[in-house]
Amino acid sequence: MTNRLHQLARVAEGRYFQPEERDQFLTYAGSVPSRFAAADALSEHEEAVLKATVGDLQQRYPNFAKHHHQGWAKCYRDLQLVIRQDAQALIFDDVQMLDDKTLAWLRTILAANNLTPQFCRDAFTLLRDHVKSRLGPEHYELLQPFLDRNIEVLSEFPEPATPAV
């Protein structure tokens, strides 16, 4: 939304905002309390969500830790970073910000560590599912576009020559 607000300001240069532009601002402003409420709910359940996600991944990928020093701890940390950036992007209602600040950068790291697109798809799908199972629908619905975006971007890279999962 912040990008869109800037865009509105650019378009309206030298004149007053038109009613539909004003409505866009007010709609966003009115949604801020519920965005913070969803982010707070996520924060409250973060540890449970991350532990459940990593626990499921450990069952699905029993050899992962053999390939990576402190592999599951790093996995936990990466999921934690992403979920916190999701919360921030949710507050600003800005998917582009999530891409720029976190996802494109993290994808390079995941690919360079020879993780497979399927592993990443599983990890961030589980993350989304565990958020869904713990948060109320009103909070989850706000977060879903960002949780979906994680899956989309972070599993979009070529298969590694030597998979390490």
């Binding site: 592999g71 599951w72 790093k74 916190r84 720029d100 494109a104 950068w105």
Partner: protein, 218 residues
């Protein structure tokens, strides 16, 4: 959990746009988040620089541009190393290669230098392959039979010499001015490139040059 995640710093992309550059409009300056002065240089300046060097240095143009790029690359690597060591609270040579690759890729993206792809698969054999999409000085180039991005080749050689602590040279093996899809570069020690100088100068394809280098001892 098998290990504690608390020891691992929770840091994201250092170069994320909103945090990375700060404009000081009263003074007309631009700084990065570490306080280093930055400038936005237009493509036209690089084109003028290349054309002027070509006019005055003729065949030695590539050599001069490469030397300029090399000096710049060394400085850029030193700055990158200082800033990223502070940000990740760990010396650059102690950071995982994947983190280094992601940060360097992000640096290229956020400075407008192009989209970088690093291939470390031959690193143990002394070769580093770099591919750049949308490189600077390459968007609007006249078709020629030879590679024209000597500035980028020098920049990469200077950067990786600084990172590796070993003298490295760089050759461009694909260029959009030659009709190829992206710009590709190979980095290795200078004597290895010297040994296949004729092959390089004859404008052979990227794969052929890499294969020839792999036959040479590291």
């Amino acid at each position: 959990m098998q290990a504690s995640a608390s020891e691992l710093p929770l840091r994201g992309n250092y170069f994320a746009e909103a945090d990375y550059l700060r404009q000081n409009l009263p003074s007309g300056t631009l700084e990065n988040r570490a306080g280093a002065r930055m400038f936005a240089l237009p493509d036209e300046l690089l084109v003028a620089l290349s054309n002027t060097v070509m006019k005055h240095r003729g065949e030695r143009c590539g050599e001069v541009l490469k030397s300029i790029g090399r000096g710049w690359g060394k400085q850029a690597a030193e700055q990158f190393s200082n800033e990223l060591s502070g940000f990740h609270e760990r010396r650059l040579d102690e950071q995982p290669l994947s983190l280094f690759a992601a940060d360097l890729t992000a640096a290229f993206l956020h400075h407008g230098w192009g989209r970088l792809q690093l291939d470390f698969s031959r690193y143990a054999r002394g070769l580093l392959l770099v591919e750049v999409f949308h490189p600077f000085l390459g968007e609007e180039v006249k078709p020629t039979s030879h590679s024209v991005e000597a500035l980028m080749a020098g920049f990469l050689s200077g950067m990786f010499t600084q990172f590796a602590g070993v003298e490295l040279d760089c050759v461009q093996t694909a260029c959009r001015a030659r009709g190829e899809q992206s710009s590709r570069f190979v980095l290795t020690v200078p004597q290895r490139l010297q040994a296949i100088k004729e092959l390089i100068e004859s404008g052979r394809a990227h794969d052929e040059i890499v294969a020839a280098l792999e036959k040479r001892p590291a």
